[in-house]
Point group: D2
Chain length 465, copies 4
C-alpha cells in the first residue's frame, strides 16, 4: 500500500463535526501527505453537505494547502482507492435521535442514545448501513482502514470487525480524552507524564492512572473528583448531566468510572433529570438539534474559514481530533497511546475472545496493539459482561431483523425496566423509525395493522415535536 498521496473518505461528510475533522488534518499536515478528501453524504443531507463542504474548502485554502476537497452523493465511486474511510453518519438525522430519546422518556424510561433504548435503535438503523459500506470497500479499497466514530461506536465497530469481517477497523470515542484531562488537572501533573489504562466497552469503561514515579494515583483521583468535599463540577462532557457518583461505591470499586456510568450507578437521578428535560422539551437531542441549526448558520458564512468556538458545545468535541490522531499514528507508525474500540483477543480476560472492547492501546502502522488488562474486579466485571451480552443481542437483531432478538435486547438492557415496558417501547420505536428499518419491515407492518394504539401514541407524541 503506497501511502504517498493519501485519499481520505468521510461517510456522513455533511456532519457539523466535519470542520473539526478538517482542522485536525490541517494541524497534522506535516504527518499527513493528503491529496484528496472526499466528503460523502446522502440525498437528504445534500444541503448540509454543501454548506459544510464549502466551509471545509475554505479551511484548507486558508491553511495554504493544495488538498482537493470533493463533495459527492456517490459513495461507491468515492471509495475508489481510499486509504482511510471515516464514518460519522447518522441514519435519519437528528430527528431520529429525538424519537430515540422522547419515546422512552414519555414512558419514564431513559432513551440514552448510546447504550439505552435509543442506542439500541441507533444500532438497528446503523449496522446494516455499515455492512453496505464495507461491501463497497471490499470492491473499491480492500486495503483501507475504517475509522468509525458513528455511535453506538462499540456495537458498530463489533459488527464491522466480527460480522462484516473488516479487520482493519478502529472505533473511536472522545470520552476517554476528557477523563485523561480531568485526572491530569486534578493531580497537577502534565497528562503526558501519567500512564492511563482504560478498559471496558464504548461508553462503559473504567480507568486507572499511574504517575511517572510508578505510583498508582487512581484512588486519589477518585477522592479529588468524586470525594465528599468536592463541590464544583468536574464534568468535561457536555452531553451528560453531572449527577454525583456515590463516593463509597467508587472507593470500593477502586477504578475510575466514565461519565456514562452515571446511567447505571445513579440511574434514578439521571432518569429524574432526563424526565425534567423531556417535560421542558429540552432533551439532549432537541438541544443538539438547535445547536446544529446555529452551527450551520455559522458555516454558511463565506468568511468563516476556521472551526467556530460554538462547535465545542456540540458534545462530540475531541472526537474528530482523535480520528485524525489515529490516522496520523497509522500513517507514521507513531505508537501513540490511545483508547480505541478494537478486537478483544483476550485483552480483557472476562470478555468474549472475539468481541470488541474499548481499551488503551498503542496505535501502530498495523493497527491497535492493546496493553493487556487481565481480569476486572467482580463488581465491574458483572456489569460489563451484562452490557456486552446486550450488545451482542442488539447486533444480532440489527443484522437478522429478528423481533424476538430485539425484544430480548430490550429485556436484558439494564436501562429498560423489564418486559412489558420493553415491548411497548420496542413496538413504538419500530413504528416510529419504520423508514430506516427495512430488516424489520414485516413486523412493523404487523404493528401498523394490529396495534392502532401504538401508531396513535407515536403519531401524537411526534406531532408535538
Amino acid at each position: 500500500m503506497s501511502k504517498e498521496a493519501l485519499k481520505i473518505v468521510t461517510i456522513g461528510g455533511g456532519s457539523s463535526y466535519t470542520p473539526e475533522l478538517i482542522e485536525g488534518y490541517i494541524l497534522r499536515k506535516d504527518e499527513l501527505p493528503i491529496k484528496e478528501i472526499w466528503l460523502v453524504d446522502i440525498e437528504a443531507g445534500k444541503e448540509k453537505l454543501e454548506i459544510v463542504g464549502a466551509m471545509a474548502k475554505r479551511q484548507v485554502e486558508a491553511a495554504g494547502l493544495d488538498w482537493e476537497v470533493h463533495l459527492t452523493l456517490d459513495r461507491f465511486n468515492a471509495l475508489k482507492d481510499a486509504d482511510f474511510v471515516t464514518t460519522q453518519f447518522r441514519v435519519g438525522l437528528l430527528n431520529a435521535r429525538i424519537k430515540d430519546e422522547r419515546i422512552p422518556l414519555s414512558h419514564g424510561v431513559l432513551g440514552q442514545e448510546t447504550n439505552g433504548a435509543g442506542g439500541m435503535f441507533k444500532a438497528f438503523r446503523t449496522i446494516p448501513i455499515i455492512g453496505q459500506i464495507i461491501a463497497d470497500m471490499k470492491v473499491q479499497c480492500p486495503d483501507a482502514w475504517l475509522i468509525n466514530f458513528t455511535n453506538p461506536a462499540g456495537m458498530v465497530t463489533e459488527a464491522a470487525i466480527k460480522h462484516f469481517g473488516w479487520k482493519k477497523t478502529i472505533g473511536l470515542c472522545n470520552v476517554p480524552i476528557g477523563h485523561r484531562k480531568v485526572a491530569a488537572e486534578k493531580l497537577a501533573i502534565p497528562e503526558e507524564e501519567l500512564l492511563f489504562k482504560f478498559a471496558g466497552i464504548n461508553h462503559f469503561h473504567w480507568h486507572r492512572v499511574w504517575d511517572d514515579k510508578g505510583a498508582e494515583r487512581t484512588d486519589e483521583v477518585i477522592d479529588m473528583v468524586y470525594g465528599p468535599q468536592k463541590t464544583e463540577d468536574e464534568n468535561h462532557l457536555k452531553n451528560i448531566h453531572s449527577a454525583q457518583f456515590h463516593y463509597e461505591q467508587l472507593k470500593d470499586l477502586g477504578l475510575l468510572p466514565c461519565g456514562y456510568h452515571r446511567y447505571y450507578y445513579i440511574e434514578d437521578e439521571m432518569l429524574k433529570h432526563s424526565i425534567e428535560e423531556f417535560e421542558k422539551g429540552e432533551t439532549r437531542a432537541q438541544v443538539v438539534k438547535a445547536t446544529e441549526t446555529r452551527l450551520f448558520e455559522l458555516y454558511k458564512d463565506p468568511a468563516l474559514n476556521y472551526k467556530p468556538e460554538e462547535l465545542s458545545q456540540r458534545g462530540g468535541t475531541h472526537y474528530s481530533d482523535a480520528a485524525c490522531e489515529v490516522i496520523a499514528s497509522i500513517q507514521n507508525d507513531k505508537r501513540t497511546d490511545m483508547v480505541v474500540s478494537t478486537a478483544n483477543n483476550g485483552t480483557i480476560q472476562d470478555m468474549p475472545y472475539d468481541c470488541v472492547v474499548e481499551v488503551s492501546a498503542l496505535i501502530t502502522a498495523h493497527g491497535a496493539e492493546p496493553y493487556n488488562w487481565g481480569e476486572m474486579p467482580s463488581a465491574a466485571r458483572g456489569l460489563l459482561q451484562g452490557m456486552k451480552a446486550m450488545e451482542e443481542t442488539v447486533i444480532r437483531a440489527a443484522i437478522t431483523g429478528s423481533y424476538g432478538a430485539a425484544l430480548q435486547a430490550f429485556t436484558i438492557n439494564p436501562l429498560v425496566p423489564g418486559g412489558t415496558t420493553a415491548k411497548t417501547l420496542l413496538d413504538e420505536l419500530l413504528y416510529a423509525h419504520k423508514e430506516h428499518l427495512p430488516q424489520f419491515a414485516e413486523k412493523i407492518a404487523e404493528i401498523e395493522a394490529n396495534q392502532p394504539e401504538t401508531v396513535a401514541y407515536v403519531d401524537e407524541l411526534m406531532k408535538s415535536n
Copy 2:
C-alpha cells in the same frame, strides 16, 4: 466414616418446614439408618422448637420407628459426630423478612427475599452465622455433610464452600422440582422418562428438556407453557406472582426460564403487583407470617402426627423432600439426578471457576457430580454473569462488613434502581436490622447519630407493621 447409625442435625429445627423434613425421612426409612435427629434452635425460637419438636416426635412414633428426636438450644454440642447437618434457619425470623420486603416497597422497589434488596440483607444476616456453624463443625463433626436450604441458598452455599472452606456442602432449592413437574405434565410424558439439564444460580437458572427418543422438547414446552394461546396458570410456585413472560423473548432465548426470572424479564409487572400487595399489607412476608401462625396452631394439636396439607401453602414445598433425597443419595450412592448448588469448577463455562452454581448433577456418595453444561447463549450469559458478580459482592460485604461493598452490591443489583435509591434503602435496612448485623455496627451507629430522617422513616414504617 461409619454411616451405620446416622445422626442428623437440623439448625433452625423450630421451622414450620420441619414436619415435612421428618416426613421425608420416614418415607425413606429403608434407605436411612437413622439413630438420632437433633433439632437445634436459638433462645428466641424456643417455643416454636418445642411445638414442632413434639410434633416431630409424634410423627416418628406414628411411623413405628425408634429414632431419637432431641431438641436443644446448644448447637455446639448437638453437632458432635453428626453425619448430616441441615440448615433452614432464618436470622431475625419472619419479622426480618417483613422489613426486607416492606422497606424497599415503601420506595417503590422490589424487596425480593432472595436476590433483591431483601435477599442481600438476608445474606448479610445469614452468612456470618453459617461461618459460625462451620467453625463448630470443624471441631465437632469434620466429616459431616452440610445440606443447606437457608436462603439465599446460592450465596450461603458459595460462602460455605469458597470462603469458609466446607467443601462438603450442597445447596438445595425446590424451584427446579416444580419446573420438572410442569414440563412432564405438559408433554404428557412421565417425568422419569425425560432428561432435564438445569444451569444457572439459585433462583436464576434455565433448563432444557429431552425425551427418551433423544429429541429436545424445550421449544415445545416454551410453546405450551408460555405460548400466546396459553390461558390458565402454569405456575407451581406459591410465592411468585404469575405475570406472563413475553413469548417471543423466550423463543429467542431457546431456554426455559425459572419462575424468579419474572423479576428480571418482566420487572415492571412484578413490581406493580408487589406494590399492590404492599399497599394492602399483604406482602409475601406478611402472608407467610400468617400462614406460619396457623401452622403452629395446627402443630400444637397433640393428635396431629402427620404433615398437614396446609404446609404446602407455605411456598417451600418439596424443599425438605429434596433435602431428604440428597441425604439418601449420599448415604446410598444412589446417583440420583438432582438440581443442586455446588462448586462450578467449569461446569458453566462463562462463570468463575471457583463460584457456586445451581446445576443438574448426579448425587453420589462423594457428593454432586454435575453434568457439564458448557456455554450459555449470550442473552442468558450476560444476566447470569451480572448476577454472580452481585452475589460475590454481597458475600464480600457480608463477611467484611464493608459499607462500600454493601453499597456496591446495591448499586449493581438489577432489581435496585441505581445509586441514590440504593443508598437510601441500604441505610434504612442497616438501621432496621441492626441487631442482626454486628459486622456493620460502626456504620449503623453513624447512621443513628447522623441520619435522623433514616431512623424516623424506618421506625414509622415498622410501627405500622
Copy 3:
C-alpha cells in the same frame, strides 16, 4: 426418527472383530429391535467380508433371530436410512500397520499405531475416508448415529465432529473397560459399586475412582497396581508391553494412568522392548497379522457359530461390546455410564472448547452427557495439552495434505525425536503409503523423483516383510 426396526451398517464389515459385534447385538436382543445388519467393505476386503459375513449369519441363525445380514461393497446404497453406522475399517489393511510400525523402528523410533508416528499415518489415511463416509451419510441417513471405533479413535472422532460436522458421532475405545476391571478386582469391590471418572484423550487419559461410601480410592489403587511390592502383571491389555510405571511419579500425580501412558512415562523401556520385537520380526502388527490369519481360518469353519475364544487375543477385546452398549443406550435412553470420545465443550477446563476428549459420560437417547471434570493437575495438564495440539496438527495435515503441517506434527509429537529423524520418517512413510494418501500425491511424487535413498530404503525394508 422411528427406531422400531433398526438398521445398523458397519463400515469395515470384513474385520475380524465383526463376530464380537454380532455377539454383542445378540446379547442385547431384547434392547435392540434390529431388522437389518449391513456389513460393508471394499473390493480388497471382499474375501474377508464373505468369510466373516457367513460367520455372522450363522451366529444370528444360531441365536434364533430373524435379523437380515447383508454383505455389500456398495457403501452409498448400504447407508440408506441407517439408524446406526459403526466404523471399524483399516485403510491399507494390516500391511499398512506393519509399515507404520517397522519403518520408525528401523530408525530406533516407536511406531505406536495410535498416537506415535504410525498413529499419525493411520490418521492421514483414515480421516479423508471418514469425510467421504459422512458425505454419504448426509445424503442417505442424515439422522443416523456414527459410532466410531476406527483408530486413532480420538482424532477420527474429532475430524468427524469438528471438521466434517457430524455432531452425532461417538468415539469408542476398550482401554477404559480394562482399567475399570483392574480397579474393581484390586479393591475387591464389584465394579458397579465404584464410581469412575476418566478424562483425557484417546489412549491418553487418566482416571479416579470412588467407592460407594464416598471415599476416593485412587491412591490405594495406585499402590496396589503400581506399588513397589507389586510383582505380578496387572496388565489387561494384550497390545501393550507391561513395563513398570515409576511408583513415586504416579503417587505425585494422584491419578491413575492408562496403559498407553507407558509410551510417555517410560518411553525408554517401551522403545527398547519394541526394538527387540522389531529385531525378532515380532512387532505388534506382525503378531496381529498372524492372529488374524488364524482367526479367519477359524471363521471359515461352517460349524462355527459363536465368537471363538482366540479373538480375545486380538487386543481389541471389549471394543465391540462397548459399541453395542452405546447403541443400546442411545436406543433405550439407558443413561449408562461409559467412557467415550465426544465434544469437550468445557468438560476438561484446560482443553480447547471445540476439541474432542475422552471422558466419562452418561449415554442418553440424545448422545453423551459428560460429567464435568474441571482442571487437571499441572503435570497431567501439560502433556495432555501437548498431545491435543499434536492431534489438531495431524488432523489439519490429513485434511489439507500440507507437507509443512505433517512435518510440524512429526516435530511436535513427543514420541518422535526432533526434526531430522522426523523428516526422514515422514518422507519414508509418505512414500511407503503412497497409494492411500492422495492428498499428499504431489509431495510423494517429489520424493520419488528427488530422494532415491528414501525410496530404496523403504523398498528394501519392506521386501523383508
Copy 4:
C-alpha cells in the same frame, strides 16, 4: 519512594558479567542518579568478588563518577534501603553446571542448562536461595525492584512472583535482543523502525515482526534466515549450536522461533552435537569455565578499566545491558519496548493466568505493561503449555523437596526420555549436587545408603572432570 540517590545491589556480584553491568550503568549515567553500588557474594566467591570489584571501581573512576562501589559477603545488611536488586548468582558455581551437563550427556541425554535436566537442577539449587533473598528484602527494602537474570530466568521469576510474593520482579534474558538484531539486519531496516512481538516463556518463545508501513514481515524473515537457500550462519548466540531448523515446519508455524527451540525442533541433531562436545571434554560448561578463567586473569590487570572484548564470548552478552535498560526505564518511566519475564495475567490466552511468561512489554515506572498477545497457533500452543507445566512441577519440587515431584518433572520434560533414564539421571544429579540441595537431604541420604552404583558412577564421572 525517593529515587534521588539510587542504591543498587547485585547478588552474585563476583560474576564475570559484572563489568558489563557497570559499563551499562556508566553508559546511562545521565538517567541513573546512582549513589551506591553494592556487590554481594558468598564466602566461596570471595576471591572473584575482590577481583571483579576492584575492576568495577576502576571502571567507575575512569568514567569520572563519584559512585560508591561496596563489596560485601553480608547480604542482609547490603540490602538495606536498596532501590534495585539484581540477581546473577550461580549456586555451586560453574562446577555445578559441569555436572548438570556432563551427567546427562554421559547417558546420551541433553543436559541443557536452562530447560533440560541441567536447568531443572539449576532451578532446584537456585529457587530456595531466591526465597531467602526475598525474605531479606521484605525486611530491608520492601519497595525495591528485583531484576532477575539468574537462570533458569523464567522459573526463578515465577517462583519470586507467584510463590514468594515479590510482585516487583522482572526477569530478563538476552536471547530476544539477538533475534531483533538478526531480523533488522536481514530486512535491512533499522531495528527501531520495526515492531516486534515476542511471546512464550524464557528460552522458549516465538516472535513476529512488522515494518513501519504496517506490513507483517515474519514470513520473509523465516525465508531469509531459515530458507533453503541460506548458507551462512545466522546465529548470534554463542551458546547454542547452529543446527538448521526445518524450513517447511517453520513456514507452517508462521512464527519465528528462538535459538533454544533447536533443542525441541531438531532434538536429534542437537543431541548428537552435544555428545560430540561431551566426548571431547568440551561441553558448553567446560568451555565457559575456561573462558571465565581467562576473563578473571584479565580482570586482575590493574590497568584494565573497561569491559574487555573477550567478555562477548561468554554467551550472556547484552544480558547486563538489558538489566541496565530495565532499571533506567523504571527510574525514568521510559516506556521502553523490551522482552521480559513477567506475570501473564491473560497476556497469552492459553497459559495459566497466574504464571510467568516472557513477552514484549513497555517498561514503565510501575513495571512491565505487556502488549496483549492472545492465542497461539496450536502447534506452538501445545509445546508451550507442556513446558509451562514442566516448569510448574520443577518449581513445586524445588520448594517442597518432594522426590515424587522431581521425578514427575523429569518424566514430563521433553528433553529427558522417559522414566527409567529419568530416574537414573535424577538420582545421580541429586547425589552430585548434594551440598546445594538441603530440601532433598533425606532422599539423598537414602541414595547414598542404598544405591552404591549411583554413587560410584557419579564419583567416577566427576573424577575425570
